[in-house]
């Protein structure tokens, strides 16, 4: 899974985070280091689609984000699609 937007959604599924925390989290769980421009491109798109939203924060520079209900639903749909692909791929490899 290397789609930056999906990685951001997966990161926020584990809890609210600001940009740097997302970048570190994604690196830990996916082994992918998103660049700052790629990360904020994904954040921009996801917020515009209503799949994530900014939270009020006392720190006006480190803006935390949270997953919306629509974002959670979209992520679930995408991950179950991916998991079907993984299961099928592994099964075929075993029989090859």
């Amino acid at each position: 899974m290397s789609d930056p937007a999906l990685l951001v959604l997966a990161s926020l599924a584990g809890g609210d985070k600001h940009g740097y925390a997302m970048m570190e989290d994604i690196h830990r769980f996916a082994g992918v280091r998103l660049g700052p421009g790629t990360l904020y491109g994904a954040i921009t798109r996801l917020e515009q689609r209503g799949w994530i939203r900014p939270l009020k924060s006392s720190d006006d520079r480190r803006q935390p984000y949270t997953l919306s209900a629509a974002g959670r639903q979209y992520l679930e749909e995408q991950l179950s699609g991916l998991s079907q692909v993984v299961r099928t791929g592994l099964k075929r490899l075993r029989h090859a």
């Binding site: 789609d3 600001h18 660049g35 700052p36 904020y40 491109g41 515009q48 009020k56 803006q63």
Partner: protein
Amino acid sequence: MKRLARHLARLYPGPWRARYGREFEALLEETNLTWRDLGDVIAGALRMRLKTWNPSSTPEGENDTMDQQATLLRVIDLKDRDIPHGYELESTIEQTRADGSKTLVRQFFRELDFGGSYLTVNHLSRDSEAAQTFIVSGTKGEVAGDFRTDRTEMLVLHADGTVRRNEQTVKTCMKHEAVREKLRETYRNGLKAGLSPHQVYQKLRLEHRPESEPRA
């Protein structure tokens, strides 16, 4: 390296920086930046500029599968009116993704220009999601080449009554204003010629490259 990254962050469109600039700079300060990151910042800025980002548009990126899903737009209605000191737009646009799912985007946009300062109001809703209102007030600054350095304040009014405030110094491309006027004129002429709002939109998309789209 961090100073260079902050400089490169200015390549992003002004409205984008008004919304995300402070948090993006905070990220650049916290990150142990590499040369690859600097390239990534430049690429990100170019992608935003190609789409001429504004709060209602959808930026595109080659590696994002979701970008390719929301490319089919149908302009259901678009009203354009001149008002004292400016103009306003009201639009209803349907986005259809590759999987057939649709999103209805309703937008009201008003821009007022008072000579030395300006005010924009952008009220936006998507399907049943709560609407958000973006208000930007700007003071025009010095002009250098095609760019003007403005001081802006953006207020984001949320449906729950809360307000988020963001002050920024942004660079505004002067060419966009002339292009926007030309687009509005073309749009009005298309309607006068009997075309539907969507037919005029398609005509504009064919005639104008993305770089020349208005910022609002």
